[in-house]
Amino acid sequence: MSKDIRIKKGLDIKLVGEAEKNTTTSSLSSVYAVKPEDFHGITPKLVAKEGAKVKAGDTLFYSKSDERILFLSPVSGKVTEVVRGARRKVLAVKIAADTKQVHKDFGTKNVDKLSAEEVKNHLFASGCWPFIKQRPYDIIANPNQAPKAIFISAYASAPLAADLEYTLAGKEAELQAAVTAIAKLTEGKVHLSVGQNASSLFTSLKGVALHKVSGPHPSGNVGTQIAKIDPINKGEVVWILTPQDLVVIGELFLTGKLNMTRTVALTGSQFSTPQYTTAIAGACIADVTAKNLQNNNTRVISGNVLSGKEVKEDGFLGYYDNQITAIPEGDDYEFFGWNKPIFNKISTSRAFTFSWLTPNKKYDLNTNTNGEHRAFVVTGAYEEVFPLDIYPMQLLKAFMYKDLDEMEALGGYEVAPEDFALTEFICVSKQPHQKIIREGLDLMREELG
């Protein structure tokens, strides 16, 4: 039985540079990196020493707060460098990859026969636990708290998002194995949300509650789906997994191998041929984008344009990302840009902006903020693109003045930064909504636990 979720509020941002359905195989990078900052809220304790030889699946570091949460090397090779920042904070562990990859064997398992405890232990041991995220706070799941439900969004609605049906095609067995295993971790349901026209890849999965979602972005955001299906209340926890990480977990159970290879979408106007490519998590961006990127004043983003992270060309593919976006940097002045009619940018207002006339046009947006940072002035605009039953501006203000009672009461437990990506996009006052939410959530976690 599927339950339909229809989202009315939101905004589809149509950009040029959609990936063609054609996958190239990028060569093995010479260097890979695992960055603790990809795992928000984790304090890493290093295991790997500089110069040590590692196999794909050997531990690099673990979480200080819970030693069972391991972070493994995605490739085999030699640990060349531990990059540190201010106060010796670990920024990245770099590994020079061997030409012949060796995987650590975790042993195959029959998922049907495993107990919840065995599943959990296997995920710990194999370094797959970081794939499970939790809300509230949008961090790696705390294994000591039982989730009331597990959510999987198999519908990507973000701008230029990788088509999961395409990137995960043929992975039915892995998906099913992973779903069967993780379903044991909750007393509640495993909710799987798919698009209106989803193929049997997702709809045929057993042991899940299927939901069909439709409507503009952020209908594919798992946060939107949680809010519509089973909103989080104080004291409750839900866990979240992405389909591509499920495939890794599934493959682990079926083959005993941690295979972090994934199909990555290269999107955005700065790619000469936007398409798909295969890459291992942590790969060097320059190797993945080789010969495709037009590198004149380009911003490269690991992830999508709304919630990804900027990476330099010598940077690395994020641990969870299945998309690299490249758009023009907008660091130029525009004469009378604040009052002349605008045809080449997107806007939800109609203040001399004409994107409402051409809803299907694809835009080539750059990174210019189109204005200066100001206090909140305009009201009622965020609500048009924010489908959650939360007052976005009031919540943002509570997060800014750090009133914990209000943060809690206005819906702080239900949100993640990415839920505020669209309000940040349309914000006339150019406020950094996602940063405000991230800092507020960190404060809540610290103070309220």
Binding site: A351, N370, E372, R374, D389, F425, S429
Partner: protein
């Protein structure tokens, strides 16, 4: 070197100095800044910023301003020679009328912007924040809501008061509790009451000629009604705005065009505009009911205004202008959609109530809006509380 490059170099040179905000204000007036999105958030941004938003409000006010300039002359000459009212179309858009507008209205605009922006710049430099766009709209609103003969020095004093006490002490644009333009208007009203009300201030030169052979009368419609007198203007005149009154508030027709611009561009809240008119209509109907049922008779001093047909209330005085351009101020108004309905309705409701019962000054819009500005956070509080309660209801863990 190009102007763009020169300005860029200057910006870098003055970065971090006291004068940087003042320089940036001029720079960003000419050029959209070269700022890029920060690295960990939304990498792209929508096209509009606060300047563009404020700009649209100013554009929507321009018809009212131009009309107000012609009307200034028209009311002046028509008061001297009432026969001019016979053929409005021939006698309205004339150079003579415009000339009065230019010598009387333009200085109001210039003083309003000059003094207001000076105060803004001084505060920006002292406090080290950027010059914000809020005053662009306030500066245009102020000349439109004052009587034509307002002395320029009074306006200057009021603007200083309004910007400092109405806005800057709260932290600048976006932080104020009261609408700055209305704070300026209220200051004028309470500080210089004889200049701001009565029957001589609405028509240019009426005060000077009082008691002389060519005295001119300049009663507004509300003034006439308040004294239970006949009103000489037709409904058409009232709707189109060929009547005495504050500079920009007379033409309901052009105000509605402004409203259409604001609503279409999604800058002004249609909820507030509609609900303000609805609130005023309801109060007007209540008063009409009172007079038709005979509770108030013609001998009462309130009879004239109470007996005004409810829809006429919407066209006369400053109600339409207040509803469209003042009540919709997003900073001082209600911020939630439900709150906006309540907020607007009460503004309209109280506007007509104050208009009828205010013995000194037959107008209530600006007082009603200021009153509701103060209550807007309370309205929002209860609306938001509804959402909070919904959340508490479905929670299983109850907190103490």
């Amino acid at each position: 070197m190009s102007l763009k490059q020169n300005l860029h170099n200057l910006k870098e040179k003055y970065r971090g100095t006291k004068m940087a905000p003042a320089f940036n204000a001029i720079h960003t007036f000419l050029y959209l800044p070269n700022e890029v999105t920060h690295t960990g958030g939304t990498h792209i941004k929508a096209a509009d910023d606060l300047k563009r938003t404020m700009n649209i409000v100013i554009i929507s006010l321009i018809p009212c301003l131009l009309f107000g300039m012609f009307n200034a002359g028209y009311q002046h000459y028509a008061a001297i020679d009432p026969s001019l009212r016979g053929d409005v179309f021939a006698n309205f858009f004339t150079m003579d009328n415009l000339w009065i507008g230019i010598i009387k209205v333009l200085p109001l605009v210039i003083v309003s912007y000059g003094v207001g922006l000076l105060v803004e710049f001084i505060f920006a430099v002292i406090k080290g924040h950027e010059v914000e766009e809020g005053y662009l709209v306030t500066g245009m609103l102020v000349p439109l809501i004052v009587p034509i003969d307002t002395p320029l020095w009074m306006l200057a004093v009021a603007v200083v008061f309004g910007v400092v006490i109405g806005k800057e002490v709260f932290g600048g644009t976006g932080m104020n509790i009261l609408n700055p333009a209305l704070t300026i208007r209220a200051f004028l009203f309470f500080a210089y009451p004889t200049w701001m009300s009565g029957d001589k201030v609405w028509v240019y030169d009426a005060v000077n000629r009082t008691g002389t052979a060519d005295a001119i009368s300049g009663e507004t419609i509300l003034g006439s009604y308040a004294q239970n007198q006949e009103v000489i203007y037709s409904t058409w005149d009232k709707f189109m705005g060929f009547i005495p009154g504050s500079v920009g508030e007379t033409s309901t027709f052009l105000i509605l065009i402004g409203a259409a611009i604001l609503v279409f561009t999604k800058i002004g809240s249609w909820r507030i505009i509609v609900s303000t008119f609805a609130g005023a209509a309801v109060m007007g109907l209540i008063f009409n009911l009172v007079t038709s049922s005979g509770i108030i008779t013609e001998s009462s001093k309130f009879y004239g205004l109470m007996n005004t047909v409810w829809w006429e209330h919407l066209m006369i005085g400053g109600l339409a202008f207040g509803a469209v351009f003042m009540a919709t101020d997003p900073v001082t108004g209600s911020q939630t959609n439900k709150g906006k309905w309540i907020y607007g309705f009460l503004i309209g409701f109280f506007s007509i109530m104050i208009r009828v019962f205010n013995p000194a000054y037959p107008e209530g819009v600006f007082l009603a809006i200021l009153l509701m500005n103060v209550f807007a956070p309370t309205i929002d509080h209860y609306v938001v509380q509804g959402n909070v309660n919904k959340r508490l209801k479905r929670a299983k863990v109850k907190t103490a």
